[in-house]
């Protein structure tokens, strides 16, 4: 057993198993498309069905988990001592894949909960105190979410008296949708319910946080799409506007909090919240347009949603894997301790740069594409001229543009502080280039990011099947003269391939021009640090300093506590040492969650005093009192 562990048999076996099963399910779902399996049991039947949506998600999950498995074939070697990691992650991925193909309520709930359980076990894998608290918070929130979803399903069952999804089409009223969507958005980490996410994602091992952040949160999107576009009885369009606004708010707040973080993984976790918010905006517009019957707008928004799911999955998983490598080779995740990594880890830094550009929506990469589609659908919803929608979508545009700029700032901070400049501590000094397999695991999604960004027509035309399944229409995706029709008005065009070609061409021209007309003389020299000691890496700008000015402007979002401690009795102007501490607290956590917990504790204390007294006389008193109470109720109320 032990020598098996040390050889890392488990690691190889289960990662390969993951890859194989992912491939198997992909093939299965392609070949058994639109067919249904029912696994008979004595009491409940487990039924599975392959439709376009589930096919899309199966392929998405399997591909991302394949990259991550490739990555963790090498990366996971430091976890060989406790190989349960690989078993759990395999089961985790498996349950997610089965979740999306399940076609009845009980199966869905069972695999949903299995997914939560395994991810929880992975979150507490490290076994440290913080992982415990994070895991508990995560599991509690997701349990609440599951209960809400269960409530929704139960109400659906009562409405249709059937467990199978086939009968749920158009059955869900506003109550059911509200319950289920609240439950799902807890899993997605949308703003009021996001508290678990920034704790749970960082403590897990990097490959797991990659899966959780790149794939698992999208299961919630799957559920919401299922409810809103398949089960919904199309009653209330205002729900769409609510989703739009909540999404926009959590996009903005998420990225604002991300900017304040020191921990790389925490920053990425908050950025996950932002991206989920963007996806929610798309869903909201699409649902609203669905009800209000603006078809082409609905298709566009849906395209934005699906595209963003894919893009976010790819770039976020690659970024999390990269952060895992940084953690592995420098033994710290704190940006303020890093710096100058791109000389030590050259190729990683290139891939990380592309990931960062893609997730902060820089043209011509894929992140920009989906965000552009979202902008277009927002403009389209302004064109609809519906009174509420116009104003809410203007607000949404404002929030989204602010979030976009803030994302640029946050990820510049991430990349600049981590990879550029001088190494700030010894950890960064002794960093080494990662193993080739790990880099391959990251390289594939990064290349996909570029591919989708540059030539998206392939994926758009395949996404059209999903869009058709959900909304009954498609979006034209013709490379050079695609004019998107919004409410019978031909609207704007962004031709990625053209832009990419032009970009490279101009870059080439500029490069050649400078090559020919400028001197090649080059001198390498120390950076000038105003005559101070050039070697001093403390002279650089710190991550906290980078974001502080923006945080000062938007200080109302953070309830941040900052203080500067000077040493006493030193010369007034030349202080040898001064300590600056700043902590940023989540406003929701500070003003909603913690007080609620306090109230619960207080109530239960009162109850405990009253109900569970050790005194036997009081207990007997309760006994007889309840007897008398029953009599009184019986005599004076019922009769």
């Amino acid at each position: 057993m032990d020598n098996l562990k040390h050889k890392g048999i488990f690691r190889y076996f289960f990662n390969c198993l993951t890859i194989l099963s992912a491939a198997f399910f992909t093939v299965l779902s392609i070949y058994c498309f639109k067919s249904e399996f029912i696994v008979q049991s004595s009491f409940i039947d487990f039924s599975f069905k392959f439709n376009a949506l589930s096919l899309f998600f199966v392929i998405f999950i399997s591909s991302v988990s394949v990259f991550i498995s490739i990555f963790s074939i090498k990366y996971g070697e430091k976890y060989d001592k406790k190989p349960s990691l690989f078993i759990y992650s395999f089961l985790f991925i498996l349950s997610m894949i089965i979740l999306v193909i399940s076609n009845d309520m009980l199966t869905f709930l069972i695999f949903w909960e299995l997914m939560s359980i395994f991810s929880f076990l992975l979150v507490i894998y490290e076994g440290s105190e913080e992982s415990r608290s994070a895991g508990f918070l995560y599991f509690l929130m997701t349990h609440i979410g599951t209960i809400l979803i269960t409530a929704g399903f139960i109400m659906l069952y009562l409405k249709t008296s059937s467990f199978s999804f086939d009968y749920y089409k158009g059955a869900a009223g506003i109550m059911i949708l509200a319950a289920a969507i609240t439950g799902f958005s807890i899993k997605a980490g949308i703003m009021p319910f996001h508290t678990w996410l920034p704790y749970a994602h960082p403590v897990a091992p990097a490959n797991i946080s990659a899966i959780m952040s790149g794939v698992m949160v999208n299961m919630a999107i799957y559920g919401i799409l299922k409810f809103l576009f398949v089960f919904s009885s199309g009653s209330n369009s205002f729900l769409g506007i609510i989703l739009l606004i909540i999404g926009a708010l959590s996009a903005l707040l998420g990225i604002m909090y991300a900017m304040a973080q020191k921990d790389i993984k925490k920053l990425l976790a908050f950025s996950t919240i932002e991206n989920m918010g963007i996806i929610f905006m798309g869903i909201g517009i699409s649902y609203w347009a669905d009800i209000e019957n603006f078809k082409s707008l609905e298709y566009l928004a849906m395209l934005a949603v699906l595209l963003h799911v894919v893009n976010h999955g790819l770039s976020k998983s690659s970024l999390f894997m990269g952060s895992g490598l940084i953690d592995k080779y420098t033994h710290t995740r704190n940006m303020e301790k890093l710096g100058g990594l791109s000389k030590k880890m050259g190729q990683l830094s290139v891939m990380f740069l592309i990931g960062v550009m893609s997730i902060s929506a820089m043209p011509p990469l894929n992140g920009f594409l989906s965000e552009w589609y979202l902008y277009i659908s927002l403009i389209g919803s302004v064109f609809t001229g519906n009174l509420y929608m116009v104003y809410f979508s203007i607000i949404a545009i404002a929030l989204l543009s602010l979030a976009g700029a803030a994302a640029g700032a946050a990820f510049t901070k991430l990349f600049g502080i981590t990879f550029l400049g001088k190494p700030r501590t010894a950890n960064a000094e002794n960093a080494a280039e990662s193993h080739i397999v790990e880099r391959i695991g990251i390289a594939i999604p990064v290349l996909l990011c570029i591919y989708i960004g540059v030539y998206p027509y392939q994926i758009i035309s395949s996404l059209n099947a999903v869009i058709f399944y959900l909304t009954g229409g498609t979006v034209s995706s013709n490379p050079f003269s695609a004019v998107h029709v919004i409410n019978a008005r031909p609207f704007s065009l962004y031709a990625p391939a053209l832009i990419a070609v032009a970009f490279t061409a101009v870059l080439l021209i500029v490069f050649l021009y400078l090559k020919s007309f400028s001197s090649d003389k080059k001198r390498i020299f120390e950076t000038w640090a105003c005559g101070l000691d050039e070697k001093n890496s403390k002279a650089q700008y710190s991550g906290g300093g980078f974001s502080s000015s923006i945080m000062k402007v938007f200080s109302s979002f953070y309830s941040s506590v900052s203080e500067i401690n000077f040493e006493k009795d030193v010369k007034k102007y030349f202080r040898s040492k001064s300590v600056y501490t700043e902590e940023v607290n989540d406003i929701f956590e500070k003003y909603i969650y913690i007080p609620a917990g306090k109230i619960y504790l207080k109530i239960s204390e009162i109850f405990n005093k009253a109900a569970n007294s050790a005194n036997i006389n009081i207990s007997l008193g309760y006994l007889f009192l309840s007897l008398i109470a029953c009599f009184i109720i019986y005599i004076f109320i019922i009769r």
Binding site: I616, N617, L620, G621, F624, F631, I635, R639
Partner: protein, 205 residues
Amino acid sequence: MIMEKIAELFIILILVSVVLNVSSPFIKFAIKLYSFQSLMLAFYILMGAVHFNSINLYGSFAITVIFKVVLIPYFLFKTLKKVKMDKEIDMYIGIPEAVVFAGSLTLLSNLIAQKIIKTGITFGSFVFTISLATFLIGAMLMITRKTLFSQIIGFLTIDNAIFLAANSITHGMPLLVELGVLFDLFVSILILSILILNLRRNVAV
């Protein structure tokens, strides 16, 4: 007719004994009262037996006397000797209030009995009132007194009340059942006294 009057006398005596029990802080006296009360119950059952001339009731008279009048008080006295305490000091409410409370409970039970009993079985209603009152007062004993003994006494009083009801509204439970009930009661008293001893050994009650 005269028999019923005598029976009512016995019943009243049962209630009186319970009220006396409420009014006295002494445990020995309480146990004696209990045995007296059980005797009254037994006599009441005897009256019934003579009145209806049923073997069943004769049998239940016998076992009542054996278990309730003799055995259980005997064991309680033995335990009491072992733990050496006769006056109970602590109760939650003072004796006068307790007595008043007992009276009001009697009124309440009368009200309930009037509500519940169908008009016509007046005899039944009277006994039912008394038994309900005994029941509630026994409960009050258990609630208001801290000492373990008086809890046992209260429990036994409740049991008597139920027996009274059983023998009044019906003509006694089937003998088999009654035997089982009394045996269980006896064993539970044994166990409780064992517990008292143990608690005495471990804790200062």
